[in-house]
Amino acid sequence: MRTRAVSLVAACALGCPSTSMYRSAEPVPAGRWQASLAAGAGGLSDRETGARSPTGYGALGLQRGLTDDVDVGLRLYTVGLSALATVRFVHRGPWSVALAPELSVVRTPNTSTTTNAFHLFAAATVPVTYRASRTWAFSAGPSIGGGVYLPEAGGSAEGLWLGAFINAEARLGERWWLVPEVSGYNVVAGDVPLRGGLFTAGLGLRFGF
């Protein structure tokens, strides 16, 4: 029997990690700040239950360049908070390669759809960026992450996922960047945030100061 679920809500706004980047392997310049705004939409599916749902998210971020090769930042996304960093370890000509770790916490309240719970996520992405010109840069990279779901009723569930992203960065004037991006991941072990995968496409806007 094939079962097809109708969309319930933008489900992963309520208990999924953000795996979007909207940035590159090039850190924010030392001593500078960069604010970002991003929004995206996509879909998720759970293999076991056959549940499919659209998903969406919004994110506000702030990053600070610490050195030429390191920045750190915070990102508020939908109902979660992330601490993130970019550590560039390769910079040759137009190419940059970095490690971008991110730690997230999502706190869901008891509602008709969510439990009173903590969702903790850790992910690491390796963005590879090619700077084609002062205006254009293209980035892509794999990511690996894990999550823990801790509900009030006790116990925990875990999950491990593999994902990837690809984006293009277009500079608009001196201070603005527009970043269209697609990203996704598939849970390969466990069931956090689900036993399946998620795909999103969105647009980011960054402002340097």
Binding site: R4, A83, R107, N110, S112, A153, G155
Partner: protein, 337 residues
């Protein structure tokens, strides 16, 4: 650099403190009138609420009603859907009616979906032979809800002494179907069931069911989610496959319960001008009673309860009678013999 790191660390801690998670502590012995939220040993992410009658003496074994939420609900919705305005604590709620009659009311959680973990369901049967895997999640994952029920009762017995002759199960929709399954598969535990808007999908799909258990079936004739007749029906999910209807379910129970062919009908007073009429049909000669409250014009709702979604989606709530009162009366009359 150090100040930036410090600021980011501080903001992280502040945001994480948006609410520290308090886990549910294991429930100890309840006092009369207690209302508790309890975890269940060995069960992940599923808890239960228990409402203890205030006029209990604190020592006598209590009759227990286990009320199961519908598909997509949770233990809180199992309570609120029975309340006229959807607010627990109202006089007409199942919790109030049960407490007044001296019952402990137990409201457990089904299995949550992912990532919406409080959108829960029961493995009430189906999923083969063209029968719908009702409410998807727990059924498709083949969750062992019989084992869960055993663990639940063990957990309840740590909170209140349970009168093992008077353990009853009721529920709406997927919860009603689960009540039927429990009657089939735990007849030595469940004294009687009352299903509202959900029928015996488990048995229809070939599940084992040779029990003799008293059954009260409350069902709206205009139910758009679980049709009165055997056919495909769904309102919240687009699901394929049939759901077994009321006539087929009750015919099978009449055979199991040794009923005769004749039935007596009694029209309930048309107490509210809500476009519904209720008829109580009682079959004669049953070794275990089979009773049906047929609600003409009624929807996928708990009569006397909450219009939890608009009538265009789930149909009307009958205000002609309170299903909670009918159910408690039925349970009163049918302890396990």
């Amino acid at each position: 650099m150090r100040s930036s790191l410090r600021a980011i660390g501080l903001l992280t801690l502040l945001a994480a403190d948006v609410g520290c998670l308090t886990t549910l502590d294991p429930c100890g012995r309840a006092a009369p009138g207690a209302s508790l939220e309890c975890p269940i040993d060995g069960v992940f992410d599923r808890a239960f609420s228990i409402r203890v009658p205030s006029r209990w003496d604190g020592a006598a074994a209590l009759p227990v009603i286990v009320a199961l939420h519908g598909g997509g609900g949770n233990r809180r919705s199992a309570e609120s859907v029975t309340c006229p305005a959807g607010t627990p604590g109202e006089p007409g709620c199942l919790s109030a009616v049960a407490a007044a009659a001296g019952y402990a009311l137990v409201l457990p959680d089904g299995t949550g979906l992912r990532p919406l973990r409080n959108v829960r369901s029961w493995n009430a049967g189906g999923g083969r032979g063209g029968w719908q895997c009702v409410s998807r999640g727990a059924c498709q994952s083949n969750v062992d809800d019989l084992d869960f029920f055993d663990r639940l009762l063990a957990a309840v017995e740590r909170v209140v002494p349970v009168d093992r002759r008077r353990v009853f199960v009721t529920g709406l929709s997927n919860g009603g179907a689960m009540a039927h399954r429990l009657a089939c598969e735990r007849p030595g535990v469940v004294a009687a069931i009352a299903a509202v808007g959900g029928t015996n999908q488990h048995a229809a799909a070939g599940g084992r069911c040779d029990a003799r258990v008293p059954v009260l079936q409350v069902h709206g004739v205009d139910d758009p989610c679980w049709a009165y007749e055997t056919r495909t029906a769904a309102c919240a999910f687009l699901e394929e496959g049939r759901k077994v209807g009321v006539d087929d379910t009750l015919a099978a129970w009449r055979t199991r319960d040794g009923c005769g062919a004749t039935a007596s009908d009694e029209a309930l007073p048309d107490a509210a001008p809500d476009g519904t009429r209720a008829l109580r049909r009682t079959w004669a000669g049953c070794a275990a009673p089979v009773v049906h409250l047929r609600v003409e014009g009624g929807g996928h709702t708990w009569p006397g309860g909450h219009q939890y979604l608009d009538a265009d989606t789930v149909g009307r709530v009958s205000r002609d009678f309170n299903a909670s009162e009918e159910i408690v009366r039925f349970f009163d009359a049918n302890p396990r013999r």
